[in-house]
Subunit: 221 residues, 4 copies
DNA sequence: AATGAATGAGGCTTCATTCAT
DNA sequence: TATGAATGAAGCCTCATTCAT
């Protein structure tokens, strides 16, 4: 029911009341920026849009980040840092065979990442690395290396114990990881454009993919 | 092919090229645009750069494409159309078991795509679909559907014949295809930034990945 | 003056200063503004800088002056008013020949002006008059006219008495005054940029200049 | 008589015809910039105003100068360079006594400078040196040093020959030069605001000032 | 057809001023 | 009264597009 014209509500006010929320702003801005940068790309997102989505005025953005580019870097590093924290914790001290460990990591951790805003970071990194070399170095050191090492070590152990057959470990890691990243990319690109197209449920896919690959790592080639 | 005896010798190259140029311009502009759009993103690429890389002046671009956006659409549709042509041809009338067919499609056709400029289109599509809904519809109808249908049909046949175990076919297709697309994305994003980092050879990865998945599709889960 | 025996010793300084502050604020703001406006120009000086140099926060400035422009006007009029007061007093009722009077005015009063913050006002006026017409009217009425009248009258008396030869009085006044103003301008422009360049001592220059001009006013042309 | 509403003239056109005048633009932009920078100050002049006064659009300015700051530097160096050329030529190989030479330099060269747009450069330099240290170095090396050397040498010769009495040469140079610069500054500051105020004719002042100082340099102190 | 000078809408950023605390 | 977070108008500059040559 629309407001009657003679009964303006609070939202009609020309100047919504100013709020002083110094503590909350940085995270709000980062969240808004991640959504928009992933949706439209860094260059095509106006800084005013980011501010608007974070519920502040244009100028406020610049009280917290000195430029749009610095905001981008903050978005990526802040998001990834917290996620990295999470996996490390997750994998540390896990007991059981390799297959179970991988199954757990994927269904627990990856499923959660897929549902979180972090899923957008992959699109952002792929889209913007070539324009911002800092990102490449950071991403490689903080994400690619640790993730490859973690999964690679599990696969390597499996090969050593005879659970898996001999093969190129780096390739096996890619076979495991790449589809997960693609799932994230799809969610924020084609998937976001065509909600009507029925696709396999992402979580079910994750489970099935891990099983296929684990199974494929075992048998005779 | 040596000069025909009646053709002028050195000055031969002076005119025909200029003739050929006019015909070749659209393709040269598309090639330049694909490289740059994939490298920097559509919004961050200046149309003057595209013209420069194609060896013409700024204004000339607009004699062939009415706007930067139309150029983008031309880039995507032209590249994909020719590639689609190619696979259809490839798969049509293939005889043999499912595994062999998939092996062939991937190692022959995909390996070639990975090495061609078409590999950049995937990055471009992922980057820009949300800004240009036309692209989404086109890409889905012309690429996603046919490719999914093609591979899906092969996998389906394999399940029907008992060669593969029962499972969600769409998911199996994703398990096969996603890493290939990621390979292309990587080539044009992180991979382009860090040439020094050693990775598994892409073609070897393609072979290994297909074997892992094919093997995984067969065995008991 | 030593502490009075009944006054608290160290803690003495703690409270009175805070009291004094409130009274002193306008002058502190004006002093800070004069320095900065003269250094960087009115438009290029941020009001926050003025506040910072005066030791208060941005908002506080606006408790004392309603806008940056009003602060500018206050800076100019306040500084000049107090200086005008001083000369008038100085010249009133002086006895002696014209040359001596001029010599006194210049070496006593001008030398002092040169060393005081007032020297910066000349740069400020020259820089900003055309943007703020109020300043022109004020400066002309309160500074140019009185000063020209004062010096002009002395020179005129000298010509009348035969001490000086006949000439355009306004021009003679300019010959006397202009270099003094230039000295102030130089101090706050080039002079401030290149402290290493040796120049004639300003006070010595003032004395020599007055002698040259007085001498020139006398002799046969 | 205003145009009748039904008879629009050429000046009513929304887009005045584009003119391609690559050769003439730089000088036109410099001239426009000098006027405006001197009038309002560098910071208070919008780059669009400069373009408009030069008869071009905003963007055109940036085809010729990469930033407003570079335009400022071009304005100053271009103007001064051509003027420096002129004096050097003027003084080279002059014959006659010192007084005559100075008289000539002043009445010929300075009078011309005063009437030319170059007169505005002095205001610009004084106003902006502290913000742009490059200008200080350039101005000192190209203007202050040569001018001081030129006039200083003449005065020095006069002292050596007994035509002038002994004194600080640098000071004498300042006594000669400073009023000329002040005349230029006045023209572009107070003088521009109050055209109604009668002042001594600048050219007459220049002549009288030189005579006063020359006379003052001679006589007994 | 090709060029590149010219244009001006639009984006990033600054900063004078306001206002909640 | 003092603060400094918040605002948004306004300025610098870029670049897609146009058009005179």
């Amino acid at each position: 029911m629309p407001d009657s014209p003679t009964a303006p509500t609070a939202s009609n006010a020309a100047h919504p009341p100013r709020q002083r929320r110094k503590e909350a702003r940085p995270q709000e801005l980062i969240d808004a920026a991640l959504e928009l940068f992933a949706e439209k790309g860094f260059a095509a997102t106006r800084s005013e849009e980011v501010a608007a989505r974070a519920g502040v005025a244009k100028g406020t953005l610049y009280l917290y980040y000195p430029s749009k580019e610095e905001l981008l870097k903050a978005v990526i590093s802040q998001r990834l840092s917290s996620e990295i924290e999470a996996v490390s914790e997750f994998a540390r001290g896990y007991r059981g065979d390799c297959a179970s460990l991988l199954r757990e990591v994927y269904t627990e951790w990856w499923s959660r990442v897929f549902d979180s805003p972090t899923s957008a970071v992959f699109k952002l990194v792929i889209t913007e690395v070539r324009n911002f070399p800092d990102i490449a170095a950071f991403y490689r050191a903080e994400v690619v290396e640790p993730a490859t090492a973690l999964v690679g070590e599990i696969v390597g152990r499996g090969i050593a114990s005879g659970e898996f057959r001999a093969m190129d470990v780096r390739g096996a890691v890619m076979s495991l990881i790449f589809p997960m990243i693609m799932l994230c990319l799809h969610k924020h690109s084609l998937g976001a454009c065509m909600p009507e197209v029925e696709m396999m449920d992402p979580h079910a896919f994750i489970r099935q993919h891990v099983e296929i690959v684990l199974n494929g790592l075992r048998g005779r080639a």
